[in-house]
């Protein structure tokens, strides 16, 4: 904690940031003292990244000020932030894989002149930084020959090559194994001894207790708690992250019976056996997962983004194969050549993709043509191999009505619709026909409340009609509302699957934070 009377190194005072209608940060007050390690904690969308981006000069706050050494500062851009002594190691490393470690550092060190990179001087500086941190630094090693932990070290050296007084580490432990994690914590402690302040962004409880002096917990863009770590327990942190006990309990008590009614569960449509999935960089995303998905149930996959959920859904959609283990889904096997998106779709798997703008729609095409994306095999829209445009238009207009999409008609271009309406169309498209298994990835993300209620109702009806639904969500409320079972992904581990009615928000919150069950 900052000593009373002294001026904090960096302070956010009443900082608010909005993106359109969404308030990312709401009147955030945050002080960072010299040589202090702060853990910035919160669920997805709690506003952590927005704070990082404002500190690194990517965009300015809408309201409030950022003070450095007590003086209000308006960063004109990322360079100004570096100038002020703030270094950031982003969650996704900004390294060029085909360049050497030293050349990657040279990319960052812009003051090295226009003409020629003085590799020797830069190498010596980088070597000195590495030595102070206790890293072994091979300047000529190519980035793509390094594992994630070593890439991270290059990023840290890259950030510290400047005069850095505050180092921001965005989710540094997400991709690290236990040993590398311990080494990173040593590094952070070393920086602290040198008087460098560190902001550690994390959602893992163990990180907080391992290294932080103070925890700042964000919820819905506002600071929910700002307390010394020694005064905190895992339970209190989880409580602050997911909302107060009272709130949670009252929500659950509204309709305790209808929230988790018994559903007759059908046969398994998809069996996942000991599946291990790796990311392109070799780190383990999912390890040894076994799970059955039955007709007539909603199984929620929860966790903070980037803990293997996306890889798991991609795998079920046929976009990748398990590195180990196997999946049997609707008569297809993941080891067979037939494990492809096309075959799985034909077998009855439908997929509401995570990033709809990117992979769910074709912006330049009409709504009718966008519907065709998942229904090219539908017999009645083609006659003699030719598209029946008029008939297709009628089918899609019907869906637009049923899903209350605000659009001029099926002939409108997808890009003329708002994001929420685009999403409804994807949902309508993927639920139409007769899917057996629905992979619903963040189906309500970015929607307004009415639409969310509509989505939930639709998913429940679909479940009751005997479909299997895999719901990928980071919203505990959503999961508790509609899911029957839950499985939590956290740092390569999985918790559950367990029936939702047997679990409390506390337990789920603890699992998401990578913590075993917490005694209430």
């Amino acid at each position: 904690m900052t000593e009373t009377g002294s001026v904090p190194l960096v302070a956010l005072r009443g900082v608010t940031k909005r993106f359109g209608d969404v308030v990312a940060n709401r009147a955030v007050d945050l002080e960072i003292g010299r040589g202090e390690v702060i853990a910035l904690v919160g669920e997805n969308g709690a506003g952590k990244s927005t704070i990082v981006n404002m500190l690194s000069g990517v965009f300015p706050p809408d309201e409030g000020t950022i003070e450095i050494d007590g003086a209000a500062t308006g960063f004109t851009g990322p360079a100004a932030s570096v100038e002020a002594g703030i270094g950031v190691v982003h969650q996704h490393y900004m390294l060029v894989p085909t360049l050497t470690a030293l050349d990657n550092i040279a990319l960052q060190a812009s003051e090295l002149g226009l003409w020629k990179i003085d590799r020797r001087a830069l190498g010596d500086r980088a070597g000195a930084v590495a030595e102070a941190l206790g890293f072994r630094f091979d300047r000529d090693q190519r980035i793509d020959s390094l594992d994630v932990a070593h890439q991270q070290r290059i990023e840290i050296i890259k950030a510290l090559i400047h005069e850095v007084r505050l180092l921001v580490l965005d989710e540094p432990t997400a991709v690290l194994g236990a040993d590398d994690k311990a080494r990173l914590f040593d590094t952070i402690s070393g920086l602290k001894r040198q008087g460098v302040s560190v902001v550690l962004i994390t959602h893992k409880l163990e990180d907080i207790f391992a290294v932080a002096d103070r925890a700042v917990i964000l919820r819905n863009g506002a600071v929910a708690a700002d307390l010394p770590v020694k005064d905190l327990s895992p339970e209190t942190i989880v409580t602050h992250m997911v909302g107060s006990d009272a709130e949670a309990r009252s929500e659950l008590e509204i309709q305790p019976e209808t929230v988790h009614p018994e559903h007759p569960v059908g046969e398994a449509v998809c069996r996942v056996r000991d599946v291990t999935l790796r990311r392109p960089n070799g780190s383990v995303a999912v390890s040894g997962l076994s799970l059955d998905l039955h007709a007539g149930e909603i199984v929620a996959v929860a966790g903070v983004d980037g803990n293997g959920q996306s890889e798991f859904v991609h795998c079920l959609a046929g976009l990748q194969r398990p590195d180990e283990g196997e999946i049997d889904c609707l008569g297809l096997n993941s080891r067979a050549r037939t494990w492809s998106p096309a075959r799985l779709r034909r077998a009855g798997v439908s997929h509401i993709p995570e990033d709809r703008r990117h992979s769910g729609i074709v912006a330049e095409m009409t709504l009718a043509k966008n519907y065709l994306l998942s229904h090219l095999d539908r017999p009645d829209v083609f006659r003699l191999g030719l598209l029946r445009n008029h008939h297709l238009g009628q089918v899609v207009d019907g869906l637009l009505n049923a899903f209350k999409v605000r659009a001029p008609g099926s002939g409108a271009l997808m890009k003329t619709l708002s994001g929420g309406n685009q999403q409804k169309i994807v949902l309508a498209r993927e639920l139409d026909g007769d899917p057996k298994l629905i992979l619903a990835t963040h189906p309500s993300r970015g929607l307004d409340l009415n639409t969310i209620a509509f989505v939930h109702k639709t998913l429940e009806q679909t479940r009751d009609a005997g479909k299997a639904i895999l719901l990928l969500s980071s919203d505990i409320d959503e999961i508790l509302k509609i899911a029957d079972r839950i499985i939590v992904f956290a740092g390569g581990r999985t918790f559950g699957p367990a029936p939702c009615r047997d679990l409390t928000r506390q337990t789920i919150g603890a699992w998401i934070a990578g913590h075993e069950d917490i005694e209430a």
Partner: protein, 350 residues
């Protein structure tokens, strides 16, 4: 916003090119007005010029369709010249085995189609299987095909007299019949019209056409929907190569009756311009092809009359094509503001 952003540079390009061309003609000691009149007169006001243009439009239409298919899927097939050669070679090599009747003609054209498909398919496999860039692969295969043809007409396929580097003439019964007496307009015109109809149906109403449009517009969405962009790339290269091969067989059977070097000079590149000006719409491809053919016919007359030095003809051709393309951009995005207005309106209430 994109409308004005693209329109200004396009107009600048047009102005710049027109100025350059006029300056070049003046430097060559000719009168720009009479040069322009010469081109227009020959192309539009003489029977010979119009017929020559129609004749040239046949292969350009067929090849322009192939480019339209490929570019729609964002696959840049620059190798139509090579595919055209491969198709004509296969057809001519197999010609002695074919029956001398209508069926023989159909087989001859089908072999051209097949030969082009194989040549395009090589680039397709390189792209789909190994992720190689199709632009490089197709350009390189052009050189292979050109040299192959050069060797064939001097070696194994050379005429019996062994004088001129060309093959023996194919059986007269395999030649495409002339449609109108007193002209050289041959039945290739029917082939071109059929090709337009079929390609238009496939591209605008067929599953395949839909798939290639999705791959071209958003290949991520294609993957998620179970359309393999790699497989589509291969299929598209095969198909557009096949159309180039068909055009080659039509040229051989309709005009020359034999293989010789350089019998379709620069058609592959011209077809790209044809397809781009037609905005990749198969129904507009014949219109665009005929427009370009008129230009070639006019420029050809200019070259024969010796009004301007020969290299200037090439400069004129290139400049006029660029002006056409820049003009299409300027015209298409000219309406940009009005087109984007309803979009922002829909966003606001969404």
């Amino acid at each position: 916003m994109t409308g004005t952003a693209l329109r200004m540079p396009a107009l600048l390009v047009i102005g710049f090119l027109v100025a350059m061309v006029i300056a070049a003609i003046l430097l060559a000691g000719a009168d720009p007005a009479s040069v322009a009149y010469g081109i227009i007169e020959r192309a539009l006001f003489t029977r010979a010029g119009l017929l020559e243009a129609l004749l040239r439009a046949i292969p350009l239409t067929i090849m322009g369709l192939g480019i339209a298919i490929a570019f729609k899927a964002r696959i840049f097939n620059i190798g139509m010249d090579g595919q055209l050669i491969a198709g004509s070679v296969l057809a001519v090599v197999a010609a002695p085995l074919l029956p001398g009747n209508i069926a023989g003609i159909v087989f001859f054209l089908a072999l051209g189609f097949l030969g082009g498909a194989v040549w395009g398919g090589i680039a397709g496999v390189i792209k789909a299987r190994f992720g190689g860039n199709e632009i490089i692969a197709t350009i390189m295969l052009n050189y292979v095909a050109v040299q192959l043809l050069s060797w064939l007409v001097r070696g194994p396929l050379q005429e019996k007299m062994k004088i001129i580097p060309r093959s023996d003439a194919i059986d007269q019964a395999l030649r495409l019949p002339v449609l109108f007496d007193g002209t050289r307009i041959h039945a290739g015109l029917i082939v071109a019209i059929l090709a337009v109809a079929i390609v238009a149906l496939v591209m605008l109403r067929g599953r395949f056409g839909y798939r290639l449009a999705v791959v071209g517009a958003n290949d991520h969405a294609a993957r998620y929907a179970g359309i393999s962009p790699a497989w589509m790339a291969a299929a598209v290269l095969i198909l557009s190569g096949a159309l180039a091969g068909l055009a080659g067989a039509v040229e051989v059977a309709g005009l020359y009756g034999r293989l010789q070097e350089g019998f379709a000079p620069g058609f592959g590149i011209a077809a790209i311009a044809v397809a781009l000006v037609a905005r990749l719409n198969p129904l507009l491809v014949p219109v665009s092809a005929f427009g370009f053919s008129l230009l070639y016919s006019g420029l050809g007359a200019l070259a024969r009359n010796g009004v301007v030095p020969f290299p200037l003809i090439n400069i004129l051709e290139g400049a006029i094509i660029l002006v056409f393309l820049a003009a299409t951009v300027a015209l298409r995005h000219g309406g940009g503001q009005t087109r984007e207005a309803p979009e922002s309106g829909a966003r606001a209430d969404g």
